[in-house]
Symmetry: C2
Subunit: 139 residues, 2 copies
DNA sequence: ACCTAATTGCAAATCTCTTGCAATTATAAA
DNA sequence: TTTATAATTGCAAGAGATTTGCAATTAGGT
């Protein structure tokens, strides 16, 4: 997986540096999408000293290459990122009380996208579909 | 419609002031969701002098009452608001080039929501479903 | 080893949104 | 209509997320 990411980076004139490896490592070890500052905190806990700005820049590069997905959950006011490489396209649900995020390994939108393109004459490139509610513990 | 909004506000111990009427007026006249700063600009053009902070506070009150809906489009980094009163629940698509926003008068998620509740044991309270792509002019 | 371009850190700026506080205003009871 | 009370507003300041400028460092190819 990292080998493919390396190739993707190189193909775009970028490098897979120690820093980027560390960022990717944290993302790979986490089972839910992380915000830049959460990622930064985890790097610090791992004794990896990387500036928050570098985290942002790294995430931008990886996102533009399609290596990570940028996710915006409802009313969060910050972006989250997760590894996309090798994972099925999916969505999320977040608990409005404790903030727990769970994956939803589904996407009902293939047919709908075609319909929308016909109706609106837009070309649909992306969609966000995120749910929020109460997790079992918080109900 | 404004009469109902008035009732909703009063029922919650709030008032439908001149200021709030002006905010609602702009939202009613606009056919797509506005950000706080866009709303503020439009008020200024209408010679209505309302502080941006008041716009934010007004939108918060109206949103919490369910009078307006808060919408977050992909990679925008800001919230948008539109009147909900009397409108069907719906979604949006935004052009990645020119930013034009169109309504999508549909929602395919009723059945899916029930499915998600069964699968995850969450109670689903909200969802965001937004599309982005290229509008006819920008393709 | 050398050159060039990519990467990083640090400081500072920007943008969106929130909070504190005092002044103003609406509403309802007296 | 006067008064008391709570809601509303503006202004200044703060907080959080993200971006930009710039100089120093580093990786990779030649």
């Amino acid at each position: 997986m990292k080998s493919t990411i390396d190739e993707d980076l190189r193909a775009a004139g970028h490098r897979l540096t120690r820093t980027r490896r560390a960022v990717l490592g944290v993302l790979e070890r986490t089972k839910y999408p992380l915000s830049a500052s959460e990622l930064y905190e985890r790097l610090q806990k791992n004794k990896v000293s990387i500036d928050l700005v570098t985290v942002y820049r790294t995430l931008t590069v990886l996102r533009d290459l399609g290596v990570v997905a940028q996710i915006e959950l409802h009313k969060e006011g910050q972006a989250r990122f997760e590894i996309r490489h090798g994972r099925e396209h999916h969505h999320h649900i977040r608990c409005q009380v404790c903030g727990r995020i769970a994956d939803l390994l589904l996407c009902p939108l293939k047919k709908l996208t075609a319909f929308i393109e016909k109706e609106t004459q837009f070309i649909v490139n992306e969609h966000t579909l995120e749910f929020s509610g109460l997790c079992p513990k918080c109900q």
